[in-house]
Symmetry: C2
Subunit: 212 residues, 2 copies
């Protein structure tokens, strides 16, 4: 097994934190996103989507998409359980994964990639060139703010995001919250006390603190 | 158990086809999207995201997000297996679910909701009003076309989308392909023979044909 990774990017960070919480060690290969190595033909042969992370299995299969990679690892290393131990828990983990991804993470990506000069001509992740849409950067910020409000309200009634214990949904959400200042130049925990309480608790977990 | 549904919308259709393939019968409540019933306070109390489908469990839990709803049903009715019967299959189903959703389904929604006069002021699903961004409608069409090219190439080498048998990923992709003509005014199967072969095969499945 081999993980294609890049230290500065938020999606592979979700996998790294998940691997740390599982107590696993997986050999990694760095794909230099600054040098556009994810667009090189030899990498696109592994993942036509041109994204990291990618998990190469021992049988030569390339798994792409963060959720799928973690789902594979959950299957082969079931303990500690991070994706739910009964149908309701498993559904709640996926539900919050999707809410965080669609309402929060994608909105932050819209804000960053359509607003920052470094992403000119690369407004979307992937091998195709797309021009920035400034109105989408603005909408991304608004949408992310609405998502963080929803999150703050939710976390004022629940210790963890999806179930009554720590799960993969917390990892995905934590990386999203940590990504926000870079994407929108404002910190979502300001003025959102429940979100701040939760963020501090996740950050203090030994595996998260060690993996960074 | 009770499913909040709307016959004309693509997301709840994914659940309906999944339920049909499982051979289940679940009582449904129609949420009239044309009358904006998904934005009414009594519905937002069930799902603050303001979307259908929603599955109400017997313990009063409301599950939102299509994938989460189907994952719950897979857990309580494991056969026939539609989400993978080993870690690699389960990962591949989620991987293709996410590729279809992020590259295809969201692109089609961008094209439809930012381009069609019926969605003026409602460019995003959910309770908040967002103005249309015409450049995003155009980008959505281009992005959807690139996705359908990728799909056609993939299906020229594989009978089914994710694994060597029919899965939930095929359902999600089928609804996405069927949604495309309405969203972009062009049919993705034209000029994509592998996609057409696959579409015809999925459409002819008895449960799919019966559920519509």
């Amino acid at each position: 097994m081999k993980l294609y990774d890049y230290p500065g990017a938020p999606s592979p960070r979700k996998v790294r934190l998940y691997v740390a919480e599982k107590g696993l060690t997986i050999p990694t290969v760095e794909v230099d996103l600054r040098a556009q190595a994810q667009q090189a033909p030899e990498f696109l042969a592994k993942n036509p989507g041109g994204t990291v992370p990618v998990l190469e299995l021992d049988d030569g299969t390339f798994l792409t998409e963060t959720l799928a990679i973690c789902r594979y690892l959950e299957g082969v290393h079931p303990e500690p359980n991070l994706m739910g131990s009964n149908p309701k828990e498993a559904a709640l983990v996926l539900m919050w994964h999707d809410i965080v991804t669609l309402e929060g993470y994608l909105a932050l990506n819209e804000a960053l990639r359509n607003g920052h000069p470094a992403f000119k001509g690369r407004a979307l992740i992937g091998p195709k060139s797309y021009e920035q849409i400034p109105a989408l950067a603005e909408r991304g910020k608004q949408r992310a703010a609405a998502f963080f409000d929803r999150l703050d309200a939710h976390l004022s009634a629940q210790r963890y995001l999806a179930t009554d214990r720590f799960s993969y949904a917390d990892i995905v959400c934590y990386v999203t919250v940590e990504f926000a200042p870079r994407a929108t130049r404002s910190n979502p925990i300001e003025g959102r006390p429940a979100l701040e309480r939760w963020r501090d608790e996740i950050a203090a977990r030994p595996a998260i603190a060690a993996a960074g």
